[in-house]
């Protein structure tokens, strides 16, 4: 069977790739996609731990469902913000959105 460590290493890899995407991309949409990747890696971790440690308690899956709800609302609000900023400033590049910066 598949060792638990494979899942954990894969989830860590997906999380770190998402982290790089969130830190290094200029486009706000690409940053959002990186954050989605990070949440995805966390979900994979949660399901793997649920399956290998406590498969008869449902808590792990409930966690994943809550994380999914958070991801959905985060995407909705984030995309609405991007649309609003695009309407006002005609840009979606994160470093040009500096109205709050001195």
């Amino acid at each position: 069977m598949i060792p638990l460590s494979w899942y954990l290493v894969l989830a860590a890899g997906i999380f770190c790739v998402g982290l790089y995407g969130a830190l290094a991309r200029r486009n706000a949409l690409a940053i959002l996609m990186g954050i989605e990747l990070m949440l995805n890696g966390v979900n994979l971790n949660l399901v793997a731990f649920w399956r290998y440690l406590t498969p008869n308690f449902i808590t792990g899956q409930v966690f994943v469902l809550i994380v999914l709800a958070v991801a959905a609302s985060e995407a909705a609000v984030g995309l609405a913000l991007i649309i609003s900023i695009y309407r006002r400033r005609s840009t979606v590049v994160a470093e040009e959105i500096n109205m709050l910066k001195w």
């Binding site: 890899g13 991309r25 995805n40």
Partner: protein
């Protein structure tokens, strides 16, 4: 090497490769399509972990809702990307460095955890029973009703908030638009 391991390696490789393409691809639409592939790979991994319901939810919420939403917004803000300028910041190497450090740190930590040595998952007693338990536990007063209700209110707040934020500019209060 068993068939399951082979399936895991293939799916994991595709998932990780697609994730890499999401952050490296210069065209944003391509990045979104790679994101869909990566999310689908995760759904397959959920099936491998015998969490079939979560795999369905993953496809329904992530691929159906979030990815489509992202693609629509990419198309709405399309003019910006065609300029052909670089897609990564000047300090991208700092991001890469912190991601690498985090990955290395996680690997070292994983190596120290004794649990990691498990290589056969314990059998699930009754999968249907488990799914029913998942449904019941979400509305059970003694278990997860509070997180469930909080998540519902948060979804409602996000719904109203995104409608408010993305409301057309002309009908908003005047004076705050610049340029």
């Amino acid at each position: 090497m068993t068939v399951t391991q082979l399936v895991f390696l293939l799916t994991g490789g595709v998932t990780l490769g697609a994730a890499l393409m999401v952050v490296l691809s210069p065209r944003l639409v391509h990045a979104a399509l790679w994101l869909i592939l990566s999310l689908a790979g995760t759904a397959v991994l959920f099936v491998l972990l015998e969490a079939g319901f979560l795999a369905v939810v993953q496809v329904a919420i992530y691929i159906d809702a979030i990815a489509i939403l992202i693609i629509i917004v990419i198309m709405l803000t399309r003019r910006v990307m065609i300029r052909g300028e670089t897609q990564i910041t000047r300090n991208w190497w700092l991001g890469a460095l912190s991601a690498l450090i985090l990955f290395g740190g996680l690997l070292i930590l994983l190596d120290m955890v004794p649990i990691i040595a498990i290589d056969t998952p314990p059998p699930i007693a009754d999968a249907d029973q488990l799914l029913e338990d998942l449904g019941r536990s979400l509305v059970d007063v003694d278990r997860f009703i509070l997180p469930f209700e909080v998540a519902s209110i948060m979804l409602l707040a996000a719904l109203i908030g995104s409608i408010m934020i993305a409301w057309p500019l002309t009908t908003r209060a005047e004076g705050e638009g610049d340029q």
